[in-house]
């Protein structure tokens, strides 16, 4: 086990993967549908997911379930912000280099903390909308 799993602790990506697996299983149970062909998961750039840890967790969590062998496809969704004050739009790439490791880590756990550390590059306002790329979600379940 490398970066994502020490002998004692497993990264919190496990919790996010747990939500994905549980939700898919719940959906299949409640809708009475059979095993899907594929599950498409959107991974928002802002949350800076460790994909190795996330994939490992997903594979562990779906073992022995109806979705054990189902393909999970990941689509990265680039983060996009829009200022409520002046309307300016910017990407995470535009501001990421100005963030320290601690700040990036904080945003990784709670993406909304970005409001405390990122301001509109044009007018300096903190009142912006995270239009895209916030976090992890199920985009599609394909049968």
């Amino acid at each position: 086990m490398e970066i994502f799993c020490s002998s004692v602790n497993i990264l919190h990506e496990w919790a996010l993967a747990e939500g994905i697996v549980k939700t898919v299983l719940l959906y299949l149970k409640e809708s009475g549908l059979k095993k899907p062909k594929k599950v498409v998961v959107s991974v928002g750039e802002l949350q800076q997911i460790d994909m190795d840890a996330f994939t490992f967790a997903l594979n562990e969590l779906k073992k022995g379930s109806i979705i054990d062998k189902v393909e999970f496809e990941f689509q990265e969704e680039k983060a996009l912000f829009k200022c409520e004050n002046c309307g300016f739009e910017w990407s995470f790439k535009d501001v990421k280099s100005s963030l320290t490791e601690d700040i990036s880590e904080a945003i990784h756990f709670l993406p909304e903390l970005s409001h405390g550390f990122i301001t509109c590059p044009k007018c300096g306002n903190r009142d912006f909308d995270i239009i895209k790329g916030r976090g992890v979600k199920i985009s599609e379940i394909i049968f």
């Binding site: 919190h12 496990w14 919790a15 756990f109 909304e112 903390l113 903190r126 992890v136 199920i138």
Partner: protein, 240 residues
């Protein structure tokens, strides 16, 4: 499909009771009462946790003197322990006194994220410090945390009681359990007692204004020596 929602019942399954501390108005002392209540419950032997959901005005960590908090990451986030209380707040991730101007859905997103990733473990009572008002924080709690028992705080002021009436109405019409009404900063308790009788709610008491509390903020041992804390401890015995 939001993958966090399915996690919430499981995350809270080992939490026996959940007590959100609410009011209509701000400035009635919710954060102080929430924090002291959590510490008192822990002192009484309960496995206690405290969640600060007052996103804009989070101060429970300041009250407890916990400005630098370390959490453990293990299949989620294990809250740090401070003064015998497991403590969770957005502040433990940022450790800065930053403003968090959030709109609508972003408040919900933050709350769902906290509930999805926090590993509470075996907990007798989770106290939640709630912000004033009837916004997303309260609505999301009502929607996703079915076993919550709401502790309503008010001062004797007509202004506070007027707004508390609205929150009581909201909780009752939504069939939510109200643990009781607790007054704070009281010189007289008649109006609060009368209000609780009119609404057929449990009257838990009326905490006095304590001039020593401000100076004790940030030092739990000093807080424990105040009259206010001793009274809150009696309340903890009633609600625990």
């Amino acid at each position: 499909m939001d993958p966090r929602i399915s996690l919430i019942p499981e995350r809270l399954s080992n939490v026996r009771r959940i007590i959100p501390v609410v009011s209509g108005k701000g400035g009635v002392g919710k954060s102080l009462i929430s924090t002291m209540l959590a510490v008192a419950l822990s002192d009484l032997g309960y496995k206690t946790a405290l969640l600060d959901l007052d996103i804009y005005g989070s101060t429970c960590h300041t009250i407890m003197g916990g400005e630098k908090l370390e959490f453990v990451e293990d299949k989620g986030v294990i809250p740090p322990m401070i003064h015998g209380v497991k403590f969770m707040s957005p502040i433990i991730f940022s450790q800065n006194n930053i403003p968090l101007p959030l709109r609508g859905n972003e408040i919900t997103d933050l709350i769902l994220e906290i509930f999805a990733i926090t590993i509470w473990g075996e907990t007798d009572i989770l106290v939640i410090d709630m912000p004033p008002g009837l916004g997303e924080e309260l609505l999301d709690l009502m929607k996703h945390v079915k076993k919550a028992e709401y502790l309503v705080i008010t001062t004797p002021s007509k202004l506070s009681l007027r707004v508390v009436e609205r929150i009581v109405d909201l909780l009752e019409t939504s069939n939510k359990k109200i643990l009781g009404i607790l007054g704070n900063m009281c010189k007289s308790y008649d109006d609060i007692l009368k209000f609780s009788q009119e609404k057929n709610l449990r009257y838990l008491g009326c905490l006095p204004f304590d001039k020593d509390i401000e100076g004790a903020i940030g030092n739990i041992e000093a807080i424990k020596k105040t009259t206010l804390y001793k009274e809150v401890r009696e309340i903890a015995k009633k609600v625990g």
